[in-house]
């Protein structure tokens, strides 16, 4: 239904322009036609959104499946897709195909595989991948073990202006590990790797990014030491950014007790000290991107003994609500959270999005920041492998608009 839509009475937040206040936002066709106090035009469909918040559609930076239904229910209009597909996105044609895989509900921005088959050995055709639509390159679920390959990758990617997304776990030290070294891993008898395996990887990759001038995004930084390494690199002028998912901000390694395979994540959950350090990393701006790490997995993948279960969580539908927990706890402001969920990832990956300025694509989320609900994996659109199952939370998406089309609307709202 393209046409003119006026959303009235809501608090409109646009971190890109600094707008934060009650206003009417007008959508004309596929773009934003203005934000202001004027009356809605008579031919526009008016949506009364008093008490709600309007923000740029969320950009989920680093998902493993272009899961459109779950994304729209979570207010997500763009997904930056990891190359860990089947087959891996190491061919320009595969990148081009992946780019169209979310149509018509979600814009999908693929990250090309950094190496052939994501094996960490030979560079993939990342220049051609960029021409086919890749917005960056990624090492995949694992780090590139070989420093020489990583060095060449960063040097090469820089020439194409592509951000390199990496997984920060030193490969040899974490091989076979399913938990972080500590009392819980020992009690449960789980193969574990020390938390400092993350800092080792970050220190190496930041130094290589410094040497090559490349743009580096570490998708998940989850330890105090890893965050310190990012701060130190940034102080030296390295172009490095850090992301995280809600899991490492809200859960520690105790969540693994009872062998809960839904809490089997990569990197594994950390101890309480590291969890608190990650929250500080959000507060002080070291971590600038919050993503879901959305990785829907089947019962066959997850209902296994802990070490045999696949790592990963379904997170698209809970990303906003869990993020709003950070606002309620005073860690970030609401505009700050919106930036972490849209404006910052848009900037990092060069997307013309994450803004509500005049002429921007009409990608919007309308949400009630206070509406309470209980997370229930059985009610997800797709797989329900969430470590937050049963958790009471607050913050409901009421409306998701992508390119001027309403792609999702909460059934209870306006009923």
């Amino acid at each position: 239904m393209t046409g003119r839509i006026a959303i009235t009475g809501a608090r409109v937040i646009c971190p890109a322009s600094g707008h934060d206040g009650v206003a009417t936002i007008l959508i004309d066709g596929r773009t934003v036609a203005g934000i202001g106090q004027s009356e809605a035009p008579s031919d526009a469909t008016v949506i009364d959104a008093r008490g709600l918040v309007v923000a740029p559609g969320l950009i989920d930076a680093g998902v493993f499946k272009a899961d459109t239904a779950a994304a729209n229910a979570g207010g997500i209009t763009r997904m930056v897709l990891m190359p860990d597909q089947s087959p891996p996105l190491d061919e320009p044609a595969l990148v081009a195909y992946a780019q169209g895989s979310g149509k018509p509900d979600v814009w999908v921005h693929p990250l090309a595989a950094a190496t052939r088959g994501l094996k960490g050995e030979e560079l993939a055709e990342i220049g051609l991948a960029k021409a086919a639509g890749a917005v960056g390159v990624a090492t995949g679920r694992k780090a590139i073990a070989d420093a020489r390959v990583m060095h060449r990758l960063l040097a090469y990617a820089r020439a194409f202006g592509l951000t390199v997304v990496t997984h920060a776990e030193e490969a040899a030290l974490t091989a076979g590990a399913v938990a972080t070294t500590g009392e819980y891993a020992t009690r449960l008898g789980l193969a574990a790797a020390p938390a400092f395996a993350e800092a080792l990887a970050i220190i190496r990759d930041c130094r290589l990014a410094e040497a090559t001038g490349a743009a580096l995004h570490i998708r998940q930084v989850t330890t105090a030491e890893g965050l310190a390494a990012v701060r130190a690199a940034r102080a030296r002028g390295v172009d490095v950014t850090a992301g995280i998912t809600p899991a490492h901000l809200m859960l520690n390694d105790m969540a693994v007790a009872g062998f809960r395979s839904f809490a089997r994540l990569s990197p594994p959950l950390r101890d309480e000290r590291d969890r608190l350090a990650a929250i500080e990393g959000v507060r002080d701006g070291t971590i600038t991107i919050l993503s879901s790490g959305h990785d829907p997995l089947s019962q066959e993948d997850k209902r296994q003994p802990f070490a045999d279960a696949r790592a990963g969580m379904a997170g698209a539908e809970t990303l906003l609500a869990l993020g709003l927990g950070l606002v309620r706890d005073g860690v970030v402001s609401l505009p700050g959270l919106v930036a972490m969920l849209s404006t910052n990832p848009a900037r990092r990956f060069g997307l013309v999005a994450g803004t509500l300025q005049l002429g921007a694509p009409a990608d919007l989320v309308v949400f009630d920041p206070d509406a309470p609900w209980r997370i229930d994996g059985h009610r997800f659109h797709g797989a329900g492998n969430t470590p937050f199952d049963g958790l009471p939370t607050a913050g409901r998406v009421r409306l998701t608009i992508k390119g001027g089309d309403i792609v999702w609307e909460d059934q209870v709202w306006r009923a």
Partner: protein, 333 residues
């Protein structure tokens, strides 16, 4: 061959008002209160006596009940021990080994569990190579599940039989100094024993090369030693663990001979322990790698064969106690 002295069995006191064993399954020592552990040991005493009584070693209390021993990982002695324990109590015992399992054909563990459950067993004994696998199965079946070893996690009946052996030889567990030596990192026996022995008041020590010592042992109230002589000083009990040969070829320790030189149990090293030290090993032993053969064979000090004997008795007690509810035993229904 004269049997070493053993202390008469005495009933342990239960705190008033508590059920002696309120659990549906035996998944690990972690779930057990000290008096529940003592209760199982007390219950095992009668079976020690019966097993020694001569030709008629039979009690029919589990008659008509079906016991499945599902062993997804190879085992000889634990499987045999559980099978004999079930048969001595009159149960119909069926063994499912790795080679006969459809797990190899790609069936998921939970499907296997549901298949077993559909045959209406009254108890399932499980061994599996993954930590937590036994608990996962226990959540899906309608009968008591006994953990016969899951990954590196727990091996509760081994810890119980070790405790019974110690209690009968030493008359107590509280206050004893117990040194557990060897591959602690990969050992479910060590994890179960740490918890059981500390729970009953022993002073527990872990002795291993640093590469085979996991972190976080202070959480168990266990003191770690990388110097075996220091770790054995004054020990009342020395419990040796088996070192897998594949872990000796450079991955965790440089070689078997270097390991034996620094962590093998020799006469000279054992002299650091208490004069009446008791030597234990869960088996199977690598003679000349972790333990000197002569020590293992010295019946005055070594309890290795007695451990095997106590194993049957402890498993009989566990099978009996866990099936009391479904058998409608008075006070348990």
């Amino acid at each position: 061959m004269s049997r070493p002295p053993s202390h008469p069995a005495q009933r342990s006191a239960l705190p008033s008002g508590v059920h002696p064993f309120p659990h549906d399954h035996l998944l690990g020592i972690a779930q057990l209160k000290p008096w529940e552990i003592a209760f199982l040991l007390d219950e095992a005493e009668q079976w020690v006596e019966m097993n020694r009584a001569g030709a008629a070693k039979h009690d029919g209390r589990l008659a008509g009940l079906t016991q499945i021993n599902a062993f997804f990982e190879n085992s000889t002695r634990t499987l045999l021990s559980f099978e004999i324990a079930g048969k001595r109590l009159g149960a119909d015992v069926v063994n499912l080994g790795v080679s006969g399992s459809s797990v190899k054909k790609g069936e998921t563990l939970l499907d296997t569990a549901l298949t077993l459950n559909a045959m209406h067993p009254d108890m399932i004994v499980i061994r599996h190579a993954s930590s937590g696998a036994v608990q996962l199965i226990s959540e899906k079946v309608g009968c008591p599940v006994l953990n016969a070893g899951d990954g590196r996690h727990e091996h509760p009946t081994q810890a119980l039989l070790d405790a019974l052996t110690i209690r009968r030889r030493k008359g107590r567990i509280a206050g004893l100094r117990v040194a557990i030596c060897g591959d602690i990192l990969h050992s479910r026996v060590a994890r179960s024993n740490f918890q059981l022995l500390a729970s009953l008041g022993a002073e527990v020590r872990a002795v291993a090369p640093p590469t085979l010592l996991p972190e976080g042992l202070d959480g168990y109230a266990v003191t770690s030693f990388t110097d075996m002589d220091a770790g054995l000083a004054g020990a009342d009990v020395v419990m040796m663990l088996r070192l897998q040969t594949e872990r000796m070829e450079g991955a965790y320790v440089p070689s078997p001979r270097e390991y034996f030189r620094f962590y093998g149990l020799t006469e000279a090293r054992l002299a650091k322990a208490a004069p009446d030290v008791l030597v234990m090993h869960p088996g199977p032993m690598n003679r000349g790698v972790e333990i000197d053969g002569a020590i293992a064979d010295d019946i005055a000090r070594s309890a290795v064969t007695e451990q095997v004997e106590m194993g049957v008795a402890v498993r009989m007690a566990c099978l009996d106690v866990l099936t009391r509810r479904r058998r409608g035993v008075e006070g348990w229904a």
